[in-house]
Amino acid sequence: MISPTHKLVMRAKEAKKKAELGLYLTPNHVFSYHGITDFIYTAVRGIGKSVISVETAIILKRKYGYENVKCFYFRLTDQSIKAMMANKGEKAIDPYLIAKYDMEITAKGNKLYDHGKLLIEFYPLVSAGSKGKGVNLYDCNFFSKYKTEGKKTFIVTIWDEFLMAEGVEKKSIGDPVEQYKIYKEAILRDAEVIKDYDAVYNFLLANNVSECAAVTGALYNYIPNPENHKRTKLTRKRAMFWNVPITQAYIEKRKNSYNANILDYKNDVNYANVQRDLSLVKPKRTRIYKVTSVLKFDKFDKKKWFCIYDGKWVRQYSGETVAKSMYHPMKRYLDGVYNADFVKQIFEMYDNRYLGYTDLMSMALFQSQLKLIKAK
């Protein structure tokens, strides 16, 4: 039993210590949650996001046996997977982890082995060559081992680097969120949630909040606030969001690094907190009246439909009934009259920042859908 004030003092000291000395994340807090399966981290570079996600898999594998833990690692493109797997996967795992757990890494195809035992499988999300659908990654007997033999089994999935850095990597085919959903379906299918222990750990890692908005919006219907550095739990979605704060120790270390002379740590989005652009979001007092058109980005998925109110305000479609003539497919073959000029007009309105958004979620999802069309 600890008195309330004593608890407050302990927390304050812990927070102060972290702010002054905290440099790297540790996998301890991952294991401290019960009932949470999805861990979404947005943090600056070099703080240990990728390391703790892989380390979680390694800890579980060493404790419960390599054959009882499956680890899947997703990257956006097959180029980045190839780069990681080059030279027998010597660049796939952080040298810190190899030294800490005394690993001997070898690679074959898209799989990575430690001392000849399967460690991680790598898959690209957006690639013409590989598609998650139809791939048989699901083993119906994997989780039933717990009931029959009493063996705990685990699945760890890691999606590293949400979106490609603008202009650095060439965009490829497909929607990464859809592909991620398809892979998750292929891996877990209808596996029931085990309540006795946490059997599934999904990590989603991004450098900053603006980068992850489209993905988290589509998957969890939630966009983290860049100014909020508290851990946010979405209990129903079994997800935990943490926009990891930049500590004083991190800034000091970066200042004294060799790269300090060429990198701008103050303004680079990969190393500094980014502010959200809220100038296009509708003010609270502005009212919207009438739907003027409905934009369809998908044939059936109504989450990818957007209404335009009063010719300006974009809002996610939520069952509004409008005349058939108001439906405008944004792509061909969506069962509707495709008007290329109208689509061009929408793009021009977007480019000239004429379109406004009723809420943040609509803004993030609409922008990501437009980007997908532009990429083609």
Binding site: S3, T5, H6, A12, K13, I59
Partner: protein, 147 residues
Amino acid sequence: MKTFKAKHNKGYYKNTDAWIDAVYRNNKTVIDANLTLAGKSPKATFKQIIKEYINEGVKPTQAMKTLARSTVFTSRQERLKANLWSGLKGDKAAYKEFRELTKEKGKYTAFDPDKLVWDRTNNVYTYNNLLKIGFQNSPYGIEVSAL
């Protein structure tokens, strides 16, 4: 830190309040440096914590011990040492073996907390990369051996 004490025993002071004040005066530098809470002085925080414990039925001296041994006033290494010592206390043979194995040039050495490391993956303590100590409280068992 083991506990906070005043200059005299508790019975020497008029009442519990005066005793808590005396304890604070005697440990002022340590408490002021560590007991920080926004909007409150360290003295007020200290008194409030001890009173909260007393109101919940904890003995005043025990409350001092609880506060002194918490993470606010102890370092990780100190807590590691305290844990190890609690294990070694129960087994004289293990303690003797520990002393023998930590000898340097045939002489006993003082315990250095900085050399003590908790090996999370194997659930053992290692000391100076020379020996490992595995112990558990329930059921009690301790084992000291060279690495």
